[in-house]
Amino acid sequence: MQFHSFDADYVARLCAGDSQTQEHFVAYFTSLLRLKIRSRLRSPQAIEDVCQETFARVFAVLSKDGGLRQPERLGPFVNTVCTHVLSEHYRSTGRSDSLDSDDSPEPVARGANALDIVASRQIREKVREILLDLEPRDRSLLHAVFLDERDRDEVCREFGVDRDYLRVLLHRAKQEFKTEYIKRIGNQAPLGANA
């Protein structure tokens, strides 16, 4: 049983401003941060602000002397910073000034290149294939849950299923999709991590 982990070498390269490591770091954590923030905030602008502010503060700490005391705890550290930024955001809701400070480095999202576009198309096709393989009722169930955003219990009652069924339906779709997803977007394990 082997887990990938961020290590001192990775953090050192990140602190040194290695562009490849920074790009990897931002790509790896952006989706996790957005998921976390999306579960608490609705506004796309606020989500983006909190995400960017989290990266800015993490980079600010990393660039200080001493940096991160436990490099292997980089992931939990990012999570903690995000939690703090979210708390501040709740307190300052309605405040007009930006969360970003002027002197913090701001990571730039990668633009879509030809490979990204091909990968996106293949991912779209895979999702379509999985959805078409489902029973029409299961597709409607997913529609009711994720698009109509209706009460889960009510939807389950209407479709004559229980919450376990819904969870398993999502689990199986995810498992089928995951192989294709990893193939297309790359594993994105920490660079230099021992596989």
Binding site: L32, L35, N79, I123, R124, L131, R167, L170, K178, Y181
Partner: protein, 238 residues
């Protein structure tokens, strides 16, 4: 509450619960703390979220036919009238009395029985299965509807094959329809180096007929490797 550990995340299907917004705030934070520290769970939740995001874009066209409103506009009105009929006094009194009877039965008979069942040790008849892919014969299990059956399954890794981080169990009925699925983290090996998992199937879930249990190993990236299929038939004694 501290961070969730990997076994808990897998066993509780935390990624699915997270996306379905089924976790309590404490459990959600515990899972997030784990996800930011576990590459495997991070990939898992990212893949699930990417699937959901893309499915949201495609589902409107794929479900249009099923979800389109009925062509006869009078139908919903009839349905509403029937619903309001139930609120008229002539219907409400007997309906309310029946409801009270049902509630009383559930509170004094059903729920205590369920609580007892959930909080006490249970004895289950256990039957060793033989793998279908190893040429073993299908086993006929005599079960009773009250207790169900326990099926010990050996998931010890074969020589030369890497052990899996977790195992997935799929239960199919005689029509090859999936009736249940579950994932469990790899158990600790016993003194002899064997790893065993017991699948307990409640009697209420079983019908007379044949069943298949498909066991797969789940790797770090979520890839599944079929390990064994077990075929058995159920016959009820009562």
């Amino acid at each position: 509450m501290g961070p969730m550990d990997h076994s808990q995340a897998v066993e509780q299907m935390a990624a699915e619960r997270y996306l379905l917004d089924e976790l309590t705030p404490e459990a959600r934070e515990a899972f997030e703390e784990h996800v930011f520290d576990c590459h495997e769970c991070a990939m898992d939740i990212r893949a699930a979220a990417a699937f959901v995001d893309e499915a949201k874009a495609q589902l409107p066209t794929l479900t249009q036919a099923v979800l389109s409103p009925p062509s006869n506009p009078a139908k919903p009105r009839v349905k509403r009238d029937r619903w309001f009929m139930g609120l008229r006094p002539g219907f409400a009194v007997p309906a309310f009395a029946t409801l009270l009877l049902v509630l009383g039965y559930q509170n004094f008979v059903t729920f205590p029985a369920l609580r007892t069942e959930a909080n006490q040790p249970r004895l289950l008849p256990s039957t060793q299965l033989h793998g279908a892919t190893r040429g073993g014969p299908g086993v006929t299990i005599t079960a009773d509807r009250k207790h169900g059956v326990a099926l010990p399954v050996d998931v010890s890794p074969q020589p030369g094959i890497a052990p899996s981080m977790s195992y997935s169990f799929d239960l199919f009925d005689s029509q090859e329809k999936l009736v249940w699925t579950g994932v469990i983290a790899a158990p600790a090996a016993d003194e002899g180096g064997d790893q065993r998992i017991t699948l307990a199937v409640p009697g209420k879930m079983l019908r007379s007929g044949s069943y298949t249990v498909a066991v797969s190993g789940v790797g770090p990236q979520g890839e599944r490797t079929p390990i064994e299929r077990y075929v058995f038939a159920v016959r009820f004694a009562d």
